[in-house]
Symmetry: C2
Subunit: 460 residues, 2 copies
């Protein structure tokens, strides 16, 4: 059923427009520019052709079958009429993008209820209203102009917010390294909700990570049940809006619904094994870590740095985020004794090795030797934006070693010359999660370890 | 006395070199490229001229007075000899950049102690060893190549770390919006320490904010006494490395000193009114906020957004950081009643106003009207990277309004098209603190409010 939304064979846009800039135009343009290979049917009583597609006066006049309908109409009233037409036509999946429904109060709620009623009677699934629908390589129903094709990734983002869906769309199409392949904006959730999508993407083998922003929870019991099942298979990252009294008040005025309070949400998250995010960047950042790094079995971290002070601060941050910095084994200490002034410590300050055998050689030998240590589950690698760092990244030295060692890594790239920093961020960022603050890198790794330890405990 | 370091009339570089790439060359080149207008005396027994400057065999051979000496010599032994020569010459300020002293253990400590002895007997102040000295518009003693002149700002960064000093140097010269005018790397602190600098910059009217990274505290009682006095006049932002057991262990191996524990540091910070930072970015981020924004009298925040969901999450974050979102006054509600569907709320969702009077008009009227509300001390403004946002920034609309209203603002710029995001960050970032995550913006504002409320309480 949900395949009708994400893999439709044909799509009709009710409210399509031939005027560039209009929402009904952007949607058709976005579909045209996507990889969508099926039939496209713009619906508009006053046009004949839009972007080369034949236009129909009503969805009922479309000759073939219509898997998916997208509506973008000026009033709730005529949206209800359009849903009626869809029912007549036998459409089973509709995305309603227009606003003016439950989110504006009782008056809009009446129209939304009518839509739910028609949908129920005709076994139609409805996404929205007040949403931006789907952005993926296969189909784009968003009202925000796409500048490129959606990258291929293994992350899906689900959000209950319009402008956010816009911003996220812009982000993913421009930042390939985010690993996001689908954004789903579900708006008022009059029918299709987080539970439907969690279940659907839980069973989608192309999706490894689900990042989700919710302001309201449609059915907490069901969410807990489904999330538990899904989170056992793949990472589910959850940003819950309205957890505090101030946030709940804001949510009330945003969506008109009563948000769940912090304790309930946190308990549910703990019970299900979802990963809790605290802002929108974390939805993307954590997803990047989970979608590119193997799971560690424990929380024993090696900090690898070229500056002692940064090692000190990362150690403090690790301690405050539940991560442990163990001593390295006697084997490693013995093996690397010539590379350090004193026996190797954790944090591993590569500076001594660099003065002895140079930067590249240090990366190629000292770094992996230290990282392979049996006491270590994962590493935080601190880089600075200098010429030699850029060189190592361009030559893929770091990427190759991390892959060889096979343990998870987060990179923190905190200071240096912009010229080098930007290249490193963009280049290394394709393969590894790169953070621009120590706090964000440590926090993301702590989440990966938390999840990895949970899964490891379940499997033994 | 400290003026000899920061405003010398003449400087000698012992260990100067004519070979590009060598540290002794970079230092002379950096001084030559700075605004330093005094005499420069390279000292090297084997050269005649370096970068156009006449070279002296020994500092004792320099004809005029020498205010400041910078040494960059290959061994601790000959560094001690150089300090002896300086004493003979009557030099009163020396920056020792070379490593190999107390930080490598007992052997190096012997040489460091000899230097301290000579300095004491001759009333010489010594900065370092194992440091990078000073980076400012007036004088640069750093061993890291400068690509531009140091920008003019009202922030000084003090750090106990070599590579960090390098990275910070690179950062400030490339990112003018950081507002940093001086970086001071004090290394092993054998003589000049944080207390000297705090006192010095506390009395420097050109410096409004002092950001400081310390791994060890030379004299806690004295620091508390001085910091209390300085923090009453200007913001002192403090990152304390080695606060946790793991961090202290790392600090031990980095500088060989026992770091202070979390509770002691936190108590001292609280007592003095310093602002606590948790990583290096916060040293810069908080400084940006404190150096550009007026102090609020309270913690009553208005959240201004175009996306309801972002308002919800910021509300949660505010609540978790001790910030309050009050209702707006009846006056504001009445004045703006035509701009919103329902009475104006906090967060202020400008979306409704935008649909009625457009984006620019909303920024010019609804935004300031709401921000002037008597219940409000400061605002968090959420922007997204879209064309209309860029336009408003280029036309200086936001900057002008913030200045007119006269209350502190932090901007969070979280999603959107890179093209617009980057322009907004760079352009708006010149005048206002712009953050790329909600968490970092909220945290920085919470620090400003904490400090503002403390000062307000003291003044009433």
């Amino acid at each position: 059923m949900m395949d009708l939304f994400f893999k439709p064979r044909s799509v009709a846009v009710i409210g399509a427009s031939g005027t560039p800039g209009k929402l009904g135009y952007i949607i058709v343009k976005n579909i045209a520019d996507s990889d969508f290979a099926g039939a496209v049917y713009p619906v508009n009583p006053k046009s004949d052709e839009i972007l080369g597609y034949k236009v129909y006066r009503s969805v009922t006049e479309v000759p073939g079958e219509v898997d998916l309908v997208v509506t973008v109409l000026p009033t709730p009233k005529i949206t209800v009429d359009a849903v009626e037409e869809c029912a007549k036509k036998g459409v089973k999946a509709i995305i309603i993008e227009s606003a003016g429904f439950a989110e504006v109060g009782a008056e809009g709620k009446v129209f939304q209820d009518q839509i739910v009623e028609i949908a129920k009677n005709n076994h139609i699934r409805v996404m929205g209203p007040n949403c931006s629908g789907i952005v993926s390589r296969e189909i784009v129903t968003s009202i925000y102009p796409m500048t490129k094709k959606v990258p291929r990734g293994n992350v899906v983002l689900i959000g209950q917010s319009g402008l956010l869906a816009a911003g996220m769309t812009a982000d993913i199409i421009e930042n390939e390294s985010l690993n996001i392949s689908k954004v789903c904006s579900i708006g008022n959730k009059c029918d299709v909700n987080e539970n439907d999508l969690l279940e659907y993407f839980g069973n989608d083998d192309d999706i490894d990570v689900i990042s989700m922003y919710l302001e309201t929870i449609t059915d907490g019991e069901k969410l807990t049940r489904i999330a538990k099942k899904v989170a056992a298979k793949k990472a589910v990252i959850f940003l819950s809006g309205g957890r505090t009294e101030a946030g709940a008040r804001a949510a009330m005025s945003h969506t008109g619904s009563i948000a769940s309070n912090a304790r309930i949400v946190e308990a549910a998250v703990k019970q299900t094994g979802m990963i809790m995010a605290d802002d929108f960047n974390e939805l993307k950042d954590f997803a990047k870590v989970f979608s590119t790094q193997p799971l560690p079995k424990g929380n024993r971290i090696e900090v690898i740095t070229l500056a002692g002070s940064v090692g000190v601060v990362v150690s403090d941050l690790c301690a405050n985020h539940g991560l442990v910095l163990p001593k390295l084994t006697a084997e490693t200490t013995e093996k690397l004794k010539d590379m350090f002034e004193t026996p190797i410590n954790n944090p591993v300050d590569l500076y001594f090795s660099v003065t002895k055998i140079g930067f590249t050689k240090t990366l190629e030998t000292t770094f992996p030797d230290a990282f392979r240590d049996a006491n270590i589950d994962a590493a935080i690698l601190i880089l600075a934006g200098f010429e030699y760092t850029e060189e190592a990244v361009q030559k893929k030295i770091i990427q190759k070693i991390v892959q060889d060692v096979g343990k998870p890594v987060v990179v923190c790239m905190i200071v240096g010359y912009n010229k080098y920093k930007n290249v490193i961020l963009n280049e290394l960022g394709k393969d590894l999660p790169v953070f621009t603050t120590l706090i964000s890198g440590v926090k993301a790794l702590s989440k990966l370890c938390e999840y990895g330890m949970r899964k490891h405990k379940q499997s033994v």
